[in-house]
């Protein structure tokens, strides 16, 4: 196998293939980034809705709960298929990439909603009490008091999730989205040695993911000490 890999390497790493792989890399990155940004905002919203109190807001609160608990328990592939077929049924002809993006956003928002909820919960109840006694409303308290304290607890796991998510996007290859794994399948079908193809794809994912992992570890180390500050 190794001999064949070495033999094919020059042809494999030719100009067009490299462009192709680069586009695929971009596709993977975009899918993860957009998913996490949109998912992040939506997830934040979901977490805020879940923490409301009062009977009037019960329907949205329940809906948020069900959404989060459901999408965290459905495999990426199944969510992808559902999204794909729903768009198909509705007759909406948008590019495959955007279907994958919707799918990705749904999943990311559910997971990030949990992360944000954990972060908000980490702020002591007495902060809420003091704000309530001063007549600060729910949203104002979140904005001025809670979120400024919670983001340090939210960011590291959210970033970890982003890194994890990059790997999950590999499944988007199944509906033909132009990302790294799909590129691998294409090149493999073209006849290149599977070891070379998938080895390179693995390496590319690694090159994308590992530096971010290190960055995340550094960030966690920097934010953690401040979390331990007890007055």
């Amino acid at each position: 196998m190794l001999a064949r890999m070495i033999e094919e390497a020059p042809a494999f790493f030719g100009y067009y293939n490299l462009i192709f792989l680069f586009q695929a890399l971009l596709g993977t990155f975009l899918l993860s980034a957009v998913g996490c940004i949109v998912g992040g905002l939506a997830g934040f919203g979901l977490a805020v809705v879940r923490r409301t109190e009062g009977l009037g807001l019960l329907p949205p609160r329940l809906a948020a709960l069900l959404f989060v608990e459901a999408f965290r328990r459905i495999p990426f592939l199944v969510t992808l298929m559902l999204t794909f077929f729903v768009f198909q049924m509705a007759g909406i002809g948008i590019p495959i990439f955007w279907i994958a993006v919707v799918s990705v956003c749904l999943i990311a928002s559910a997971f990030i909603a949990e992360i944000v909820r954990g972060g908000l919960d980490s702020v002591h109840q007495n902060q809420w009490d003091a704000a309530a006694a001063m007549n600060m409303g729910y949203l104002m308290t979140l904005r001025l008091v809670i979120v400024p304290q919670a983001w340090k607890v939210i960011l590291p796991p959210a970033f970890s999730f982003f890194i994890l998510f990059i790997k999950d996007t590999a499944l988007a290859s199944q509906i033909g989205v132009m990302e790294l794994t799909y590129a691998g399948k294409v090149l493999n079908n073209k006849g290149f040695s599977a070891g070379l193809v998938f080895g390179s794809i693995l390496l590319l994912y690694f090159v994308l993911s590992y530096p971010l992992t290190r960055l995340g570890a550094r960030m966690e180390a920097r934010l953690a000490p401040s979390r331990d500050r007890t007055a």
Binding site: M1, F76, V86, M89, K167
Partner: protein
């Protein structure tokens, strides 16, 4: 474009799909067990081994946790044949999931090892316990308590991760969903039911694991 949901066509396949759920659980279980063995060896190697072994294990862990499981399986399935090792779909998926799990479980178990504080060992010693006794009565229970939640979580994740076996034709839950879809063309219904089954599956599994964790290991676990 009008499309009426016809779940009626899908219900007959429910037993078939439910069977697939069991396959998913079993697949994840086998991979988990294999991964635990790798993880134990890896954790011990990283904690007590010589520098070269530590680097090797670190390399394994880092590489497998920073690349997608799907591509790892693709590699095993398509690339290994070139070296003469022919794996069936099921085997490739199982090996892939096991190796992948091994990397994560190495880290989880290593964290468990590190959590045993010297004070506990010293306390056990001063109470007159032999090495073996301190392991049995102090270290092991402590480690099990600490490790049970993340290990349970990993298992649940792996059950969800087994879904990608469908891509290789393995007939676990998602794989069977593809089959039913091919037969009935009621795609939305099929995959909604499948999604529902996964939710049910993971809810039951996490509840059971949480109960076991609380009762047997006094681990602090959230029910669901």
């Amino acid at each position: 474009m009008s499309y009426t949901l016809q779940f009626g066509q899908v219900w007959p396949y429910l037993p078939y799909l439910a069977g697939g759920a069991l396959v998913s659980l079993w697949l994840a279980f086998l991979a988990f067990m294999g991964g635990m063995v790798i993880g134990l060896l890896g954790a011990m190697g990283k904690t007590f081994g010589p520098p070269w072994l530590r680097s090797l294990i670190q390399g394994y862990v880092v590489f497998l946790t920073n690349t997608p499981q799907l591509v790892q399986i693709y590699f095993l399935y398509f690339a290994l044949p070139d070296t003469g090792i022919l794996l069936s779909s099921y085997q490739a998926v199982l090996v892939g999931m096991t190796l992948n799990a091994g990397a994560y479980l190495t880290e989880i178990q290593r964290a468990g090892f590190l959590s045993v504080r010297r004070e506990e060992l010293e306390a056990a010693e001063t109470l007159g316990m032999s090495r073996l006794q301190s392991v049995r009565y102090v270290i092991l229970p402590h480690i099990m308590r600490i490790l049970f939640p993340p290990l349970s979580n990993q298992y649940i994740l792996m059950t969800l991760g087994s879904s990608m076996a469908a891509i290789f034709g393995v007939e676990e839950l998602t794989g069977r969903a593809f089959n039913v879809n091919a037969q009935t063309f009621r795609s939305i219904e099929v995959f909604s039911v499948t999604a529902g089954l996964y939710i049910l599956l993971t809810l039951i599994a996490s509840t059971l694991l949480a109960l076991v964790g609380r009762q047997l290991f006094r681990a602090r676990m959230r029910i669901v």
